[in-house]
Amino acid sequence: MNRRRWVVVIAGGLLIIGGFFWIARVRNRPGLLPSRLVPLAAELEGVRGVYLYFGVAGADSLAAEYRDVVVKERPADQVRAVYRELLAGPAEGHVALFPEGTELLEAYWTDRGTLYLDWNKTLTQGFRAGTARERALIASIVRTAGDNLPDVNRVMLLVEGEPVETIGGHFDVLSPLLVRDWR
């Protein structure tokens, strides 16, 4: 009886040890990624940590969210990925600022540090709010560029390829917006 008990104890101990070492090996296995970082397409190049800015409920300010974004190698693709994530909205209870249905059509920048972002018409036609929201939206776009693209110091907003005077009838976006003015 005693002998059987000891055999069971030893076998159990060995099983526990084996189990833990097995778990340790699995958890430290290289290349194991959380589900949201699993490659979505064959052309996947990398994962990038970015800061995204969203509105704060009940305040005139913005809050940054740090997020990992799947991006491709080309800089313009990276910009599109960053803004696609911004358009997807906040994850931490903050306030989404873009009108629903807004899309980024094209992105490119000059060697003088100006980033051009070309949006669909929903950005202006779907915007129905006052200065606080418009100011927050512009600041969100500009600060997201300034924080994640170190070579960008100005952001020019276009709508379907054309410059626009304002997004919602208030703030001048006809000329490039300086990143330092919107910090």
Binding site: F21, N28, P30, G58, D60, R128, A132, G169
Partner: protein, 491 residues
């Protein structure tokens, strides 16, 4: 008997197995066994803790935590097992399981290799100090024994603002750490306002004494804003910067002003050349297809803004007898350019754009008063206007989009006056006065203000009325403020 001996022999092995199993639990689960690192930021940001994990007896930090703390961006290439991090101008490239990293293309040995755990890259805690020593992070220090990352406060360029009363002269002094010449935005018998463009302030302050009823110095997006509300009877001011020391003096001594030692304080110039206010242009926002914001009670901004413009027109005509022009007097589409043309072509002395807002999930309620930022068109105001002279007289030419640059100080004085009047009339609500690049204001050649009225926090016309937000009362308050400013007094 043999069984008993075997049991005695096996007992130590069983105990050892259990000890190993218990010791293996944290390793197996990757639980943090090291105490957290404290990150201390300058006020008002609260400190935070980042928790290392222990891998094979070495403390490791997540690169996600490091990127967040040092505001770096990171880029992970899973197929190459390489991670690059960008800290400002610097780039760090590291490869999983290799202790050699590239810092701005120079190879460095961090002894313990980066590890990939649960899809995240970890670097040894001992690499934090070198990051700072190598100059990659310049605004923080690593306190190894205390295991603390401490961010330094930025060095401010405007410091130690103080108030002195010397007889009939009251003086504000401050130290300027670099040459940032203060710009006088306006200097009236009621207020003096200075802007240190691009400056930063050590601490916001409020003080009073002597000829200064109330002074505030604070940081704003354009720089450092110094606003002095003067006691009645103030006559002149003097501004000097000597050896990086600012001296702004206010006096109520008429003789000092007469002697030329002080500049005379004059009312805000919102009228024509003779100082008389003749034409006010009111601009109800939006219109036609552009409905503006949706307001409580199914109202839309374009209609309510027109109602307010009409009410304000009546008030201004009754109180001041001035000519009032509306940029639209119906539900029509009027471009921002056309609104400015109406104001400039009519020779308007004052332009007020009227708006309403329902902020939804952002802050709601209250009033926002904007004027064009005095720095928005920096560099254009100095070379304006171009004066053309001929036998028949002279004319001024100003680039259309920069017309507001030369009168932005007067606009700020009016905007502040309107904001103060609203604060007195509606003490229960929030009043925000700020500057910005408001498109409709940029081409206006006269003093120009943008007023946005938010509904009461609980919304609805009933609440607006109950809390004193009726359009008639807003119109009365704004008209009274303009009346007071036009008469040279404080609004």
């Amino acid at each position: 008997m043999i069984g008993a001996i075997r049991a005695h022999l096996l007992l130590p092995f069983a105990a050892l197995a259990l000890v190993l199993a218990l010791a293996g639990i944290p390793i197996a689960l990757g639980l943090p066994v090291a105490p957290p690192i404290v990150v201390v930021y300058p006020e008002p940001r609260a400190p935070e803790r980042i928790t290392p994990i222990t891998l094979r007896g070495v403390r490791y930090l997540s690169t996600s935590d490091l990127a967040r703390v040092f505001r770096a961006t990171k880029y992970w290439r899973p197929e190459l097992r390489k991670l690059s991090m960008r800290l400002g101008e610097h780039t760090i490239r590291l490869t999983v399981d290799s202790p050699i990293i590239l810092v701005d293309e120079a190879a460095r040995n961090i002894v313990y290799p980066p590890r990939l755990v649960q899809g995240a890259i970890y670097v040894p805690e001992s690499a934090v100090g070198p990051l700072i020593d190598w100059g990659l992070v310049t605004d923080a220090v690593w306190d190894g024994p205390a295991r603390m990352i401490r961010f330094r406060s930025p060095v401010h360029t405007v410091r130690q603002a103080q108030l002195w009363v010397r007889g009939r002269v009251t003086e504000i002094s401050a130290t300027l750490l670099r040459a940032i010449p203060p710009r006088v935005l306006y200097a009236t018998p009621a207020e003096v306002r200075l802007l240190f463009e691009g400056g930063t302030l050590d601490s916001a302050r409020v003080f009073s004494g002597g000829a200064i009823a109330n002074a505030t110095i604070r940081e704003v997006p354009d720089g450092v804003d110094l606003r002095l509300i003067l006691a009645p009877g103030s006559e002149g001011y003097s501004l000097t910067v000597v050896s990086n020391r600012l001296r702004l003096a206010i006096t109520d001594d008429h003789d000092l002003v007469q002697s030329g030692a002080f500049t005379r304080l004059v009312p805000v110039p919102i009228g024509g050349p003779d100082g008389k206010l003749r034409v006010v242009v009111l601009d109800p926002g939006h219109g036609g297809n552009d409905k503006g914001a949706s307001l409580p009670g199914r109202a839309v901004e374009k209609d309510v803004a027109l109602d307010l413009a009409r009410a304000l027109r009546s008030e201004l005509q009754d109180r001041l007898g001035v000519r009032v022009i509306l940029t639209r007097d119906g539900d029509s589409d009027v471009s921002l350019r056309r609104r400015a043309e109406v104001a400039n072509e009519s020779g308007g002395d004052l332009f007020i754009s009227l708006h309403f807002d329902d902020e939804g999930s952002l802050r709601s309620g209250g009033f926002r008063v904007y004027t064009l930022s005095p720095t928005a068109l920096t560099g254009t105001g100095e070379r304006l206007p171009i004066v053309l002279e001929s036998d028949g007289g002279s004319a001024e030419m100003r680039p259309w989009d920069f017309a507001q640059a030369s009168v932005s100080g007067a606009s700020m004085a009016v905007g502040q006056g309107v904001a103060d009047a609203l604060a007195r009339s509606f003490p229960q609500t929030t009043i925000i006065f700020r500057t910005g690049r408001i498109r409709v204001l940029e081409p206006i050649a006269s003093a120009a203000v943008f007023l946005e009225c938010g509904p009461a926090p609980r919304g609805g016309p009933e609440a607006m009325s109950l809390q004193g937000y009726s359009i008639r009362e807003i119109a009365r308050t704004v008209a009274q403020a303009i009346h007071d400013l036009a008469r040279g007094g404080r609004a």
